[in-house]
Amino acid sequence: MKLDDMLRNVKRFDPPETLRERVMAQARAHRAEQASWLAAIGRLKSRPAFRATVALGACAAALLLLVDSGRFKFAVPAPSTTDAPYHLAYNEMDLFLEQTLGVVYEFKSMESSAEYQVDEDAARFINNQIETIYRINGGNNA
């Protein structure tokens, strides 16, 4: 059979009735779903809390858009210069210094005792530590 003959003889098909039923059933279901959504939104819209939430959301979205577009910038925080020893809280540092200095003064007053030689290294270590701490804090007053 030649192509032209073939095309002359083919017929158009009628869609089955089941297609119409399926399409319309789905359309109705979709419509009902849509209607229930719209009704739910309508009910919510009458509530002040919902309105406030929507307004807040809109403000947040607007702010995000502004920030995202680069028209609005938050203050850039100063670069941190904190080193490891500064991680100690100030109160803790004060307490530490007080206690350490107390030990050192007490130790120095025992210089003439027999225990002097034994604790010499410990005293030197503590002294160095205090000096380090003061140096880091901007002064050398140990």
Binding site: M1, K11, P15, R20, Q26
Partner: protein
């Protein structure tokens, strides 16, 4: 058709022709008004108006879906998807193009997306289940048999065409769309439509000849 010279047409005949044309124009205009009214109502969610649109355009969608798949169940799934997409997107329909063109575009997009699944394509090529319950709508048994034979041959040939060419061929030769309408619904340039059609015709003629031998 023999074209009559204006001088040879009698005044009564001329009047009759003019009346006929006026009636046709009125019918067309009322049909268009009907359609735009139904579109507007369907956009607002009127299911009955959507049903009216379905009845008007079902033949095109079904015939494209059927000849792209040649399987009743798949064609039904595909056609259903087309109409549901149309129903969901109707509120976005601006009316800048004709409704039919808009629906053609949905049909084409849905069909091409559906066709991307090559497994389905491969499995359908040899499927002859569509022949069960085939009804050409012709009461003459000889003509009905010829229709079935033609459809069988067309199925075999279309199955060997690449999907874009196949779609172009169906839209032009079986659905009678113009080149412009095909271009608008597929998004292809007119030149592309022409070349795809020419190649499709060439390929099908060659295949049909081979089939005869």
């Amino acid at each position: 058709m023999k074209v009559k010279n204006a001088d040879t047409i009698k005044p009564v005949q001329r009047l009759h022709m003019m009346e006929k044309r006026a009636v046709a124009a009125r019918e067309m205009s009322s049909r268009m008004n009907d359609e735009s009214e139904h579109i507007e109502r369907a956009r607002l969610g009127d299911v009955e108006s959507f049903e009216w649109l379905y009845e008007r355009h079902k033949s095109f969608v079904w015939n494209v879906a059927f000849r792209m798949t040649y399987q009743r169940q798949s064609a039904e799934d595909l056609a259903q998807e087309v109409f549901l997409t149309a129903w969901r997107k109707l509120p976005d329909f601006k009316g800048t193009a004709a409704f039919s063109t808009w629906l053609y575009r949905i049909t084409v997009n849905t069909t091409l997306n559906w066709r991307r699944d090559s497994m389905r394509w491969a499995s359908l090529r040899e499927d002859k289940s569509w022949e069960t319950g085939f009804h050409s709508g012709d009461n003459n048994p000889e003509r009905a048999l010829m229709a079935l034979e033609a459809e069988r041959a067309l199925h075999k040939l279309l199955g060997q065409l690449e999907k874009d060419r196949r779609l172009a061929f169906i839209l032009r030769e079986l659905e009678g769309l113009s080149y412009e309408e095909i271009a608008a619904s597929t998004g292809w340039a007119i030149g592309t439509v022409r070349s795809r059609l020419a190649r499709a015709r060439q390929e099908l003629s060659r295949l049909a000849e081979n089939m005869e031998k």
